[in-house]
């Protein structure tokens, strides 16, 4: 008996169900659409939401890129990429500009995205109201009534306690003036990249069984009080050790031998592209 594997691992009906959820998500920006969330050869909570979206969208002509916290080479990124490639045979790239489908965990690439590209984000906790209201039944109602005072109250309490809003990643955003959405744990640095982005952004939470989306050119506003404005992470006086870049998200690293603290561009493909371009300039 010959048992062929399905293209892109999932069976056609599952992929269709996910695509239907995606269509609904795009139609209602920021609204969390429930979906079935299939079993995968990865544990739930390890990117299964994003992987299912990618698997149900990938076609033979696509070029994929998978990143994990800005890196194309971490174990998670490599494993997910090889799962997608083994089950589809599509080509992959590390260059943001060349990819048609980018799956990412916790970062939006530094290079601005283009029209026609799709960014798939892995989401651990899709519900922005969860830490103020544990009941799903109630949070659904609150979304329906557009009652987001809980999210604001949490931010107000942060200001009372710490003098500033204390979210470091996953800072809530309001999409298209209606739904408040958890942008997955991307740093606040990446929040403004969602506003009016020409690329389609899809969010998948496999464990929580939710899909949501930010369609191209949608207004995305990071929540902030009138007198406590939204702020990105600041790297004042710090620059990338290898490139000298200052307008990118930096990792803080420690040299284990000398104990010296240094900074390096977090987006590994952006870093590599920059270094290669510099080298070409030298040889010419």
């Amino acid at each position: 008996m010959i048992r062929e594997k399905h293209f892109a691992f999932l069976d056609e009906n599952s992929k269709r169900e996910i695509r239907r959820a995606l269509l609904k998500a795009v139609a209602i920006p920021g609204y969390q659409v429930p979906f079935a969330s299939r079993e995968l050869p990865i544990a739930r909570g390890w990117g299964t939401g994003g992987v299912q979206i990618t698997l149900s969208l990938v076609g033979k002509g696509d070029t994929i890129k998978v990143i994990d916290q800005g890196s194309d080479e971490s174990v998670n990124a490599v494993s997910l990429r090889s799962l997608i490639q083994e089950t589809t045979g599509v080509s992959s790239t590390i260059h943001t500009a060349q990819a048609t489908l980018i799956q990412t965990r916790h970062r939006i690439p530094e290079r601005p995205l283009k029209e026609g590209q799709i960014l798939v984000l892995q989401v651990p906790l899709p519900e922005p109201l969860r830490n103020v209201e544990p009941s799903e039944y109630k949070t659904k109602k609150l979304h329906g009534e557009a009652d987001y005072s809980g999210v604001w109250l949490k931010m107000f309490e942060d200001i009372m306690r710490y003098g500033q809003v204390a979210t470091d990643a996953d800072h809530p955003v309001c999409v298209n003036g209606r739904y408040v959405m958890a942008p997955s744990p991307i740093p606040r640095f990446d929040n403004p990249k969602m506003n009016g982005s020409p690329a389609l952004m899809l969010f998948g939470a496999g464990r929580e069984k939710k899909i949501y989306a930010v369609p191209p050119y949608t207004k995305v506003v990071s929540l902030a009080f009138d007198d406590y404005l939204f702020q990105r992470e600041r790297f004042a006086g710090k620059k990338c050790r290898l490139t000298g870049l200052t307008n990118v998200y930096l990792d803080e690293l420690t040299d284990e031998k000398t104990g010296e603290v240094y900074y390096q561009t977090n987006d590994s493909s952006y870093l590599l592209e920059y270094l290669n371009r510099e080298k070409e300039g030298e040889t010419e």
Partner: protein, 280 residues
């Protein structure tokens, strides 16, 4: 001829049932035993209650536990959905709209802007792990305020008024005494200057000197702002001290209403007589 004054709050034929109801109990109220149907086990918590509240007036609601006082208050504050009846507020659409049949968003607006509630149990009215200031700001945030400085200033004014010392305003109510928690609740209820206050057994569970403090505070605030207040209590001395008019409830029905002095000195209904004469 002078036009008759319009009440700020009017409640007409309000009903609240818990359960499906059956022909046996629905059509013949006399079959209900103490607000309870022995056949379908439906509880008739509030039956055909009509009530009005005028500007600057304090109306007391007394009755034993289980008489439907708190259910009535929760329905007025939209914590519970009403089964039937009409609810009008003068400040909302000039009293022409039945708020029970308005949308949930409208009800939330009324709740935030026109009503202030103080619960018997502070855990229901306060977020125990948030600071006292945040608890007061919650109402202002719900009303659309997005300016931190103005909300802090306003909550400090209110906390001053209810005598919470500045040093404790960043603390959470879970670290407060019962009397302080109750005072924070009162400050929260006043956050958006609502014309109507709903007080549900505010002094129950407090010791006598603290009770006196809280009652005095309520009187002071009411005199200053001319709020209309609905006070629920099973404690007749609280009612005697605060209320201009009193309503007596039993088994989900109003059995007697009138001026407080009248009711306390010359009760008509046998239950009210029992209630008044059983004062220790």
């Amino acid at each position: 001829m002078k036009e008759q004054e319009q009440p700020v709050l009017t409640l007409k034929h309000f009903n609240k049932f818990f359960g499906p109801g059956c022909p046996y109990c629905r059509e013949k109220p006399e079959n209900r035993r103490n607000g309870y149907c022995p056949k379908c086990h439906t509880v008739y918590a509030c039956q055909d209650i009509s009530l009005s509240l005028y500007r600057g007036e304090i109306v007391g609601i007394v009755g034993e536990s289980g008489s439907g006082k708190s259910t009535l208050m929760q329905a007025l504050y939209f914590d519970n959905a009403a089964t039937g009846g009409e609810y009008h507020l003068e400040a909302y659409q000039n009293g022409k709209e039945n708020i029970f049949s308005s949308s949930r968003q409208q009800q939330k607006w009324v709740r935030n802007m026109l009503l202030g509630m103080v619960y018997q149990n502070p855990t229901m009215g306060l977020k125990m792990n948030f600071s006292a200031r945040s608890n007061i700001a919650e109402k202002m945030i719900a009303a659309g305020n997005r300016n931190v400085h103005s909300m802090v200033a306003r909550s400090d004014v209110l906390l001053d008024q209810v005598h919470i010392p500045p040093a404790r305003r960043k603390d959470s109510p879970c670290n407060f005494s019962g009397g302080m928690q109750q005072r924070v609740q009162i400050a929260k209820a006043l956050a958006n200057e609502p014309p109507i206050l709903l007080l549900d057994e505010v002094t129950t569970g407090l010791d006598l000197s603290v009770q006196a403090d809280v009652l005095e505070l309520i009187q002071e605030i009411q005199r200053e702002r001319q709020n209309s207040v609905l006070v629920v209590s099973h404690d007749l001395s609280v009612i005697r001290m605060l209320a201009d008019r009193t309503v007596v409830m039993l088994n989900g029905r109003i059995i007697e209403e009138g001026l407080t002095d009248q009711i306390l000195e010359d009760p008509q209904h046998p239950y009210t007589q029992q209630l008044v004469y059983s004062l220790l």
